[in-house]
Point group: C2
Chain length 439, copies 2
């Protein structure tokens, strides 16, 4: 494959070739039935080359050498016609990688049939009166990637993970609950379908009883899935070095300053023990590492890919992630970890006289990362009275994430692994004096 780099050097000052091969075996669940059994396979090669600071990018759905050579030539034709990017510095130099995690090769071979049975099992466990399995799915993903560039970067990685999720809706005595999700994701096939179904069933039972929420200031406990959706849109983008360069992050002059209280620690580490995205190199071949972003409430710094880091005169933090539609690289996380606390979620709820538990936020995607403003609907959400969940409710929460974070008063011991945007390891987070608008 290095022959392809040699071939490309005839045209370009420098170039990068990235190959991705993926396999996904899995099933989908719809209305109590397994609706599709799928085996999807894909090979994508991306060529990025620079000639006189002019960029050319070509994508081709194959790993075939001759076809990749044609893609190199197309990238070159494109580069010649584009204008120079005067900000361009260079592709990354080789770096030192950490020891990769052991991979479970079963994930590469597993048949979708395995998940047909898993799904039937899950549907069976959820088959109680008044419960509909509205949706769900399960599967295993296997990926292989090879990132090479003309400065000597040459890194091959392989690995995979498995996931299972279910959406239940309760229908009883004319009542219909909101859709309740639960899921599991692991680096092996040892998925805990039983816990997934049990958790979802518990929440549906809570949801059958509806309670009014008030307009008030109250304690709000946010579960991992809801934490991740709110912070992914309102906070995490502000950590991007590109936004620092462009002046679109409110954290520009805040390195070393408090953004929360000391209960909050956030870092990105693909090799964290719970990570289901254990990459040793990013999509530009830069070694990944443990990047601490917030430590005990103090903002520690930004994350970078190669392009923006070099423009800003710093080092890439190994956070270059590729978009396989455009071939381009942008700054992203591999496995965001929000550090856990000491108390269990049960204890945290048990200590609340009056408050709310939030399982999901709607509308989080319209948050504004430029300033941290958000306006979301908490649904599914639950009323807590005297340390116990009383029933389902819905309320609005609008505010600013930088005003919310200092009101964090507890973080749960349990962390959930979320198979999104790489992966995330997230505990439940409890806030006090949260202004909510009841329904």
């Amino acid at each position: 494959m290095e022959e392809l780099i040699r071939f490309g050097e005839k045209f370009f000052d420098e170039l990068e070739i990235a190959m991705y091969k993926s396999r996904e075996a899995g099933v989908q669940i719809e209305l109590n039935e397994v609706s599709t059994s799928a085996l999807r396979e894909r090979v994508v090669t991306v060529v990025r080359g620079i000639k006189d600071k002019r960029l050319g990018v070509a994508i081709v759905d194959t790993g075939d050498k001759e076809k990749v050579k044609e893609a190199v030539e197309r990238a070159y034709k494109m580069a010649k016609l584009n204008k120079p990017d005067e900000k361009w510095v260079s592709f990354p130099e080789p770096g030192k990688y950490r020891e990769p995690r052991k991979v479970d090769k079963e994930l590469r071979e597993v048949s979708p049939d395995y998940f047909v049975e898993l799904a039937r099992e899950g549907i069976g466990m959820a088959s109680e009166e008044g419960i509909v399995v509205a949706g769900g799915g399960g599967g295993a993903e296997w990926g292989e990637s090879l990132i090479m560039n003309s400065h000597g970067v040459n890194v091959f990685q392989e690995g995979g993970g498995a996931f299972f999720y279910i959406e239940l809706v309760g229908m009883k005595e004319g009542k219909v609950t909101p859709g309740i999700f639960d899921f599991d994701a692991k680096l092996s096939l040892k998925l805990d379908v039983e816990s997934v179904v049990k958790n979802a069933l518990q929440k549906v039972k809570w949801a059958f009883k509806t309670e009014k929420s008030k307009t008030e200031e109250a304690k709000v406990v946010v579960e991992p899935w809801a934490v991740s959706s709110l912070l992914s849109y309102a906070l995490f983008p502000a950590f991007s070095g590109e936004r620092l360069v462009k002046g679109t992050t409110p954290l520009a002059n805040k390195v070393g300053e408090k953004v929360s209280n000391d209960l909050l620690t956030i870092y990105d580490d693909p090799l964290h023990e719970l990570s289901i995205n254990p990459v040793i190199a990013d999509d530009e071949g830069v070694p990944t590492r443990r990047n601490v972003i917030v430590e005990k409430g103090i903002f520690k710094g930004f994350i970078w890919d190669n392009y923006w880091a070099k423009i800003h005169g710093v080092e890439s933090t190994g956070n270059g992630k590729r978009n396989l539609s455009t071939g381009g690289i942008s700054i992203g996380f591999h496995n965001v970890v929000i550090e856990n606390g000491k108390r269990s979620l049960e204890e945290i709820i048990g200590e609340i006289e009056h408050g709310y538990l939030v399982d999901g936020f709607q509308g989080a995607h319209s948050s504004n990362p430029d300033n941290g403003n958000f306006a979301v609907v908490a649904n599914p959400a639950f009323l807590i009275e005297n340390g116990e969940v009383k029933g389902a409710t819905v309320f609005m929460m609008s505010g600013n994430v930088y005003e919310l974070l200092p009101d964090l008063y507890a973080v749960s011991k349990e962390q959930k692994v979320l198979p999104f945007g790489g992966s995330m390891v997230v505990p439940a987070m409890a806030f006090e004096n949260v202004r909510i608008a009841g329904k």
Copy 2:
């Protein structure tokens, strides 16, 4: 390939095998540069089999016979574990197809390089002071499909189309216009880049001058792209036979009744002369035809796929469309045509003393097809005074599509071909007494 049907009949009472091969060669445009040159290729095979009314669906990203046989076996394992669908009747019987359109084989071979040059040409033409080419793209798609079932359906189709679009933003003297789109789509490579750029430039120039809109009842001329987005969400879903069976269309007892005035005629016909989706069979192998849905304001009837038609005791209208993520079929259009009128858009605008021209609607996707309610923001939109476009404006329009349609007073002679959801052929539509909320 029929051998695969014979193989599947060992397992199933009846089965269907559908193979899709696609190639897309094209480029993307970002900030005055060609950002990606892509050659994407894909093969997908979907197997749907029925055993004792139990459905099994398997998808595999290949056309390889042995792997398709494995998919047949997986579909069978899944069917055995699912519960019977007592509503199931049968897959379609063979039908008589219309004469296919001549296809332009150039579309199958064209290199992305062709579109690199086309895009550079477009960017060049748009290079005026104060104009940024924010985005765009161009490409050619080629598709081949083979639909077979155990009742003897066996239909092969091939064909393709090309498209070019551009998004301009004006920036001058501290003013930034909204993004202005224009596009062209054809069954050949003869794309009219010049007109695309010229139209977009004209609108940017209008947009530099901003005008206030009032809260009032006024004439509103809606351009094709905006017409298609509003009707695709608020009206067209109501034509689906599935919604008739499920009781979620407001047109349930309205066949033969007026839904608009006689200026409105809507039909679906993939072989219409301007169609860029000239299929002779739908994704279940049922012959397509010209289905008249609204004729001179009178609602004529619903469109159907095989499953819902047989449940309702009618014939499929050849409107089964496949989702390549799930393998499933749902009811959809191939090429919706809204019949054109007699006057040119220029004449229609020229006769308006005071009114508005709408180029795009935001928020159309939240319309409710169950009752036709919509609430959209007209943006980009333009104020018309004394028959001339005066400048850009923004306003809200909320109402009900069944109350809006009778106020149609003119349809333009020109129709635009929209490359979405198959394709659409849409004129501009002018309404009077439209209640708008100004900004």
